[in-house]
């Protein structure tokens, strides 16, 4: 049986499935899974899905995970295999009170419009199976760290997160996806984030799944008038990792800045699709991606910016760079810019290559060893994306994760 048939069979017809879950299953059945013939999925490793034995969520875990140190000033929610672990979480009273669990797909769960558009189909799978989806409305200001640990072996770990920011609200959101100690299976994450006017959010995502994990995540963001969404994403884990991210700038003068990096080694496949839709006048987007593929790894990034006819005065900046650092390594970058209006300022560029020999020689001529010089240059290559993470502890954790996937580990000083 193909993966789609098994997903639908595993889902079955549960008596307690709410309308949202049933709608997700129906949509997935209609649209089917993407294939490599789909332009936005040609570099994703979809064959790995065929090896998943069961898509059912794993049983309730009974482990006591090793958690990273708490981030100062942040509330923390810990999920293991998609299930909230209150005993490991650090939620304040207000946060606990506002967690609106959508109770396995109740009618109040949003429609996930992005998922239905095609590229968010893995978001549908997360919705179908997530054992404890959560929804949260932020009215004031919140710093929230969400740790998701996948331990489920040979079955699924699903997480669905629905966040809504009221006008002028502020959210510092950190997502950390980690692997357990043993072998893991499939991890599917769906995040839906809506920013009302003048709201602001910095969303930091560290994807550091176990070396054998399959991780597919879907993030759909809607940015209202005058609101600002900053995304920092560091992808440095899992055997197969695919991020599908869509940011809709739906309100006048809505802004987004994306700083993303990916490092992959051995035979990892790390693929990302960033779509930014300019739908209102005066909107701005600024995307930067840096990827390094070592050994036989494959790093891919598609960055698609679409400026609609209703978005005059839009400003678009896009910079994609890839570094090939292995005989069998591959980097594919695809910048795409579609403009359907006048009065647009747009600058974009994409380059892929190997380490610059001139830079390398300069460092050797200063006495640095070839290993140190290469490591330093790779670190410098990632710096612009990495340094966009403001919190030092988080930046250090992100750096260490990225460094673990480089052929040459940078000096400790650089990881501070």
């Amino acid at each position: 049986m193909k993966a789609l048939e098994r997903i639908l069979a595993d889902f079955g017809s549960p008596a307690d499935a709410g309308p949202a879950r049933l709608a997700a299953a129906e949509a997935l059945s209609t649209h089917a899974l993407p294939t490599r013939r789909d332009e936005n999925w040609r570099y994703a490793n979809l064959r790995a899905l065929e090896a998943v034995r069961t898509f059912l969520p794993g049983p309730a875990p009974s482990i006591s995970p090793a958690l990273p140190p708490a981030l100062p000033g942040y509330s923390r929610l810990v999920f293991i295999d998609g299930r909230l672990q209150p005993q490991h979480s650090l939620p304040d009273t207000a946060l606990l009170g506002s967690l609106r669990r959508s109770a396995a797909g109740s009618a109040d769960a949003g429609p996930v419009p992005f998922a239905f558009s095609g590229d968010g189909r893995f978001g549908l799978i997360a919705r179908m199976f997530a054992p404890e989806p959560i929804a949260l409305r932020v009215a004031g200001s919140l710093a929230l760290e969400l740790i998701s640990i996948t331990t489920a072996q040979a079955c699924g770990s699903y997480l669905e997160l629905d966040l809504e920011l009221a006008a002028h609200a502020q959210l510092e959101l950190v997502e950390r996806h980690l692997g357990g100690a043993g072998p893991t299976g499939l991890s599917c994450v769906q995040v839906d984030l809506q920013l009302a006017e003048q709201a602001q959010s910095t969303h930091t995502r560290l994807l550091q799944g176990a070396p054998d994990a399959l991780h597919y995540d879907t993030v759909a963001v809607t940015v209202g008038a005058g609101a600002q969404y900053l995304l920092r994403q560091v992808s440095a884990g899992a055997q197969t990792a695919r991020s599908t991210i869509q940011v809709r700038l739906s309100g006048r003068e809505a802004r987004t800045q994306i700083r993303a990096l990916a490092t992959a080694h051995e035979a990892q496949v790390c693929d990302a699709l960033f779509t930014v839709l300019h739908e209102a006048p005066g909107t701005r987007s600024d995307q930067l991606f840096r990827g390094i593929a070592s050994d036989r790894a494959h790093v891919a990034c598609s960055a698609d910016v679409q400026v609609s006819a209703g978005a005059p005065g839009a400003r678009v900046v896009q910079s994609l760079r890839g570094l090939i650092d292995g005989a069998g390594a591959e980097v594919d970058l695809r910048p795409r810019l579609t403009i359907n209006t006048d009065e647009v300022q747009a600058a974009h560029g994409a380059t892929t290559g190997r380490l610059d020999e001139d830079l390398l020689f300069y460092l050797l001529a200063r006495g640095l060893s070839p290993v140190e010089a290469r490591s330093l240059l790779k670190w410098a290559f990632l710096a612009e994306a990495l340094n966009a993470i403001d919190a030092p502890a988080l930046r250090r954790a992100a750096g260490q994760g990225a460094a673990a996937r480089l052929a040459d580990t940078p000096a400790t000083e650089l990881l501070q």
């Binding site: 060893s369 290559f381 990632l382």
Partner: protein
Amino acid sequence: MNAPLLKIDQLSASAGGAPVLHGVSLEVNAGEVHAIMGPNGSGKSTLAHVLAGRPGYVITGGTVRFDGADLLALPAEERARAGLFLGFQYPVEIPGVSNAYLLKAALNACRRQRGEQDIDAFDFLNLVRDKMRTMHIDEALLTRGVNEGFSGGEKKRNEILQMLVMEPRLALLDETDSGLDIDALKIVGRGINSLRAAERAVVVITHYQRLLDYVVPDQVHVLARGRIVRSGDRALALELERRGYDWLLEAAPAMA
């Protein structure tokens, strides 16, 4: 008499299959400053890069001894650690690597080679600040990426700053004076002179003699068509300034 610090004997090299150096011979003693002048394309920068160990050149003949050791047998980083410094004509920009990091890494590489411990962070800052004052470099540049967004003059002064921090036995300065205004030229000249010592030597590669007003050489050599065609004292540089290089080219045999 002591052996020369640098002894180049009949050095020949090619780049991209084309011969560039045709039997260059040169001796530089500790404590001396030499200037190598010559027209465009004469092989000056090639000589500097071959000595510093840049990949891409093929040594087709000759030997080079540096402080008694076979220089050509060493990879580039070991040449640097042994005390050979190349000041680049076109210093590269390395965003993401701070000046401070590179200076410290370079200094510690040299210290380890000498059997010394890595420098303490406090001592390093004191040392660098002192050298930065000599080179009139704003301390704020320490935290900036290497040469990132620097003006041409700042890049060249930064090269000399690196040299002062590393304290090499032999400095090869490849057209360090190019693109400098008169004030920057004086600062660079002052920086080079501050390194002059009985145990060190400096080789200045330049098109013009104006740097030599500030860094007075003991010997001047003219490199033309891949070989040294004339050597003399500072008066030779002044003569080149008056007469140009044509009269020497006419006297130099064309190489096959």
